[in-house]
C-alpha cells in the first residue's frame, strides 16, 4: 500500500511525537526522516518501531517525517497508527 494523501498526527508537546506522511512516486520506496530529543538513548528503538509498523501495514512509497520529544512506546505506536490510517483515508469516528 501507499499513502493516498498527506497526513499528520501528534503534537510538538513534550512526551509526544509528531508524524507527517506524504505519498511518494510509485516504486520509490520509503524515505524516513526521524529526529528525537532522545535519539542517542532511544534512536534504535524508535527506528525499529517505525519499520515494524510500516511492514505491518505493508507501506511503501512513503515519505515520513517524525519529530519526537521523548514519547513513550505506546504513544509512538498510537500516533503512527493514526497517521497511517489518516494517510490511507481510513480513519473512523472523527471529523477531518
Amino acid at each position: 500500500m501507499k499513502p493516498k494523501i498527506a497526513a499528520q498526527s501528534g503534537t510538538f508537546e513534550s512526551s509526544d511525537v509528531i508524524f507527517l506522511i506524504e505519498p511518494r512516486p510509485d516504486n520509490s520506496g520509503r524515505k524516513l526522516e526521524i529526529s528525537s530529543t532522545v535519539m542517542q538513548q532511544f534512536g534504535a528503538n524508535f527506528n525499529r518501531i517505525i519499520v515494524e509498523m510500516l511492514d505491518q501495514y505493508d507501506m511503501t512509497d512513503i515519505h515520513l517525517i517524525a519529530k519526537d520529544k521523548g514519547a513513550l512506546e505506546p504513544t509512538i505506536k498510537a500516533r503512527f497508527e493514526t497517521a497511517i490510517k489518516r494517510s490511507l483515508d481510513e480513519q473512523e469516528g472523527t471529523l477531518k
Partner: protein
C-alpha cells in the same frame, strides 16, 4: 586505583598532580585536622592617600601584572546576568595572555562566549563548581587537554587554603563600592544580595579588582568585602544584565508534578523525626525543591513549630518565612532575587556569610554541619543513592556540584527530590554516570512514583512506614521506571579524562570521560 565507591581514579594527571581517591564522606575529617599545609595569604602594602580608582577594567588588569599561566578567579552571584568574566577574559586574550587557569566559583550559560578562548589556548585549565551549556558540551567533547576540576562550594575554599588554586587575580563585581574597595552586593541598581563566595578570593588573590556600577561615598556599608584586601577599584556603566541577575520574587512552581513531589517530600520531612522546634532547614531554588518550602511553611503553621535557621541559596520565599517568624535567622551565601537583597541589607537576622563559614569542611565547624533537613535535586540517582548533578543523560557537563555534597554531608536528613523519569529518560539508574554526592550522605529519595529510603537508615524507614507513606525499594522503583521508559542505550566514551570531580575534602570521587562524537 579504585576509590571506595568503585570508581577508577588515576594516581596522577598531568597538569593536576597526584590524586587521592575518595574513601568515605567523613574519613578524612575524622582525623580532626587537614594533612595538607595551608599556604599564607599574600602580604600587601599601601601608602596613605593614594587612589585605587582606575579608568577602565583594562587599565586595572594592566596594573595587575597579567602574565601567561596566571590564575584568574570570579564569583557567580550575578548568575546568568554576569558580564565581567567574559569582558575580563576578552581583555586578557587581546593582550595575548595564554595558559590561563580559570577559577570561577561557577560557570553559567552567559559565559558561553569564552568558548573560543578554550579552543585557542587562552584558557587551558578550569576549576569550577559547575559548567553548563556550550561550555559543558565542549568540555565533555574534550576541548581542554587538562581535565576540568569540579569542586563543591566548601571544597573550593579548601583548595584555595591549600594552594591547589593559587589566585593571581580576582575580579569582584559589586553593586555598590567606595573608592577604597569596600564593597557589597546588597544595594544599588544591580543588587544581587550576598557576595559570600568572593570573600575567600579577596583574602587570597595576589591582585584584587573590585568592579562596580555604583560608586558610593566612603565608606560603603556593609563591608561585605573590605578595603584592606582590595588593590584596585573600577567604575563601569554596568556590571551585568540586571534582568538576569535578580528578578522580583521567586514564584512557586505551578507544575502539578513538581507540586506532587514536593508534597510527598514535605510529608517525609514531617514524619522523619527531625521536624521539631528549632530545626534548621535548607532548600534549593529549583521547582520541586522550593515548593517543598511552601508545604513545610503550612505544616509549621499548623503544628506551631518554629525553626532555628535557613541556610544557603536564599529566595524571597525564605525571607517570607523569616518575616512570618517561622525561623529565627537566615544565613545567606547566595541570594536569588531582588527582595532578598533588601532583607539582607535591613534585617539583622538575615546574615551574609562567606563560603568558608557556609561549607568548608576544614575549620572548626561550617554551618552546613548544623543542618537538620536539606532538600536537594538530582540529574540522576542510582540504586546505591549516589547522586549525579553534573553530567546529563546525553553525557554533557550540564550542572553544578555547588553545595550539594556539602549540605548532604552535614544534614541529619538529606532529601533528594526528582521525577522518576524526564522525557523518556529514567532518572533512577543502576549506576549514575558521574558521582558528585555519595549515597552514604543521602537519606531518602522522593519521586512521584514512590519514596525510597537508604537502607542504612532503618529507623527513618520505620518512621515513614508508620506514617503510611508509599515506601518502595529503590531497586524495585528502578525496574518499574525502566519498564515505562524502556532501557536507554548506553553512552559511548573514550579513555580520555575530561573532568575530575573532587569531593569536598579534596579526594576524588569520580572522573568524567570524553564523549564519543556521534
Amino acid at each position: 586505583m579504585l576509590n571506595s565507591l568503585g570508581r577508577e581514579i588515576p594516581e596522577y594527571i598531568e597538569g593536576i598532580g597526584k590524586l587521592e581517591p575518595y574513601q568515605g564522606a567523613l574519613t578524612k575529617l575524622s582525623k580532626g585536622w587537614m594533612d595538607e599545609p595551608t599556604i599564607p595569604a599574600p602580604n600587601k602594602a599601601y601608602l596613605p592617600h593614594q587612589s585605587k580608582l582606575c579608568n577602565s577594567l583594562e587599565e586595572a588588569i594592566l596594573r595587575s601584572n597579567p602574565h601567561n599561566g596566571m590564575t584568574i578567579s570570579f564569583h557567580h552571584h550575578l548568575r546568568n546576568g554576569d558580564i565581567l568574566l567574559v569582558q575580563t577574559l576578552t581583555i586578557l586574550h587581546n593582550m595575548g595572555i595564554r595558559y590561563i587557569t580559570l577559577a570561577s566559583s561557577s560557570l553559567n550559560e552567559c559565559h558561553d562566549p569564552i568558548l573560543p578562548y578554550l579552543e585557542d589556548g587562552t584558557v587551558t585549565r578550569i576549576y569550577s563548581s559547575g559548567i553548563r551549556s556550550q561550555l559543558g558540551r565542549a568540555v565533555a567533547m574534550g576541548v581542554l587537554d587538562i581535565p576540568v576540576v569540579i569542586h563543591s562550594h566548601g571544597g573550593r575554599v579548601r583548595s584555595i587554603h591549600t594552594g591547589k588554586i593559587q589566585i593571581d587575580l580576582t575580579v569582584i563585581a559589586a553593586s555598590a563600592a567606595d573608592c577604597e574597595g569596600n564593597a557589597t552586593g546588597s544595594h544599588g541598581k544591580s543588587a544581587f544580595g550576598s557576595i559570600g563566595y568572593a570573600v575567600i578570593d579577596a583574602r587570597y588573590a595576589k591582585q584584587v579588582i573590585v568592579v562596580t556600577d555604583n560608586l558610593v561615598n566612603f565608606p560603603c556599608i556593609p563591608l561585605s568585602i573590605s578595603q584592606n584586601f582590595v588593590d584596585q577599584v573600577v567604575v563601569v556603566d554596568s556590571i551585568g544584565d540586571a534582568s538576569k541577575i535578580a528578578t522580583g520574587t521567586t514564584r512557586i512552581t505551578n507544575s502539578p508534578m513538581d507540586l506532587r513531589i514536593a508534597k510527598l517530600a514535605a510529608d517525609v520531612i514531617e514524619h522523619s523525626g527531625f521536624f521539631e522546634p528549632g530545626f534548621a532547614f535548607q532548600v534549593g531554588a529549583g521547582g520541586a525543591s522550593l515548593a517543598v518550602a511552601k508545604f513545610i511553611r503550612e505544616k509549621m503553621k499548623t503544628k506551631a513549630i518554629k525553626g532555628s535557621f535557613m541556610l544557603g541559596g536564599i529566595t524571597s520565599y525564605c525571607v517570607d518565612m523569616l518575616n512570618d517568624g517561622l525561623f529565627e535567622t537566615i544565613f545567606d551565601v547566595q541570594s536569588f532575587d531582588a527582595t532578598v537583597s533588601n532583607s539582607l541589607l535591613n534585617n539583622r537576622r538575615h546574615i551574609e556569610i562567606p563560603a568558608a563559614l557556609y561549607a568548608n569542611p576544614f575549620n572548626c565547624g561550617c554551618i552546613t554541619n548544623k543542618i537538620d533537613v536539606v532538600v536537594l535535586g538530582a540529574l540522576e540517582i542510582d540504586v546505591d543513592f549516589n547522586v549525579n548533578v553534573i553530567t546529563g543523560s546525553e553525557g554533557n557537563v550540564r550542572g553544578a556540584s555547588g553545595g550539594h555534597s556539602d549540605t548532604a554531608s552535614g544534614a541529619k536528613l538529606t532529601v533528594v527530590v526528582c521525577p522518576s523519569f524526564r522525557g523518556r529518560i529514567p532518572i533512577i539508574k543502576k549506576r549514575v554516570h558521574t558521582i558528585v554526592t555519595p549515597g552514604e550522605s543521602i537519606h531518602v529519595l522522593v519521586t512521584e512514583r514512590g519514596i525510597c529510603v537508604n537502607p542504612a537508615f532503618p529507623e527513618l524507614e520505620a518512621n515513614l512506614k508508620k506514617a503510611g507513606l508509599n515506601i518502595k525499594d529503590i531497586h524495585d522503583l528502578e525496574i518499574e521506571v525502566d519498564k515505562i521508559t524502556g532501557i536507554p542505550a548506553p553512552l559511548e566514551y573514550t579513555d580520555k579524562i575530561v573532568g575530575i570531580v573532587e569531593y569536598r575534602d579534596g579526594t576524588i570521587i569520580d572522573v568524567v570521560h570524553q564523549l564519543k562524537e556521534k
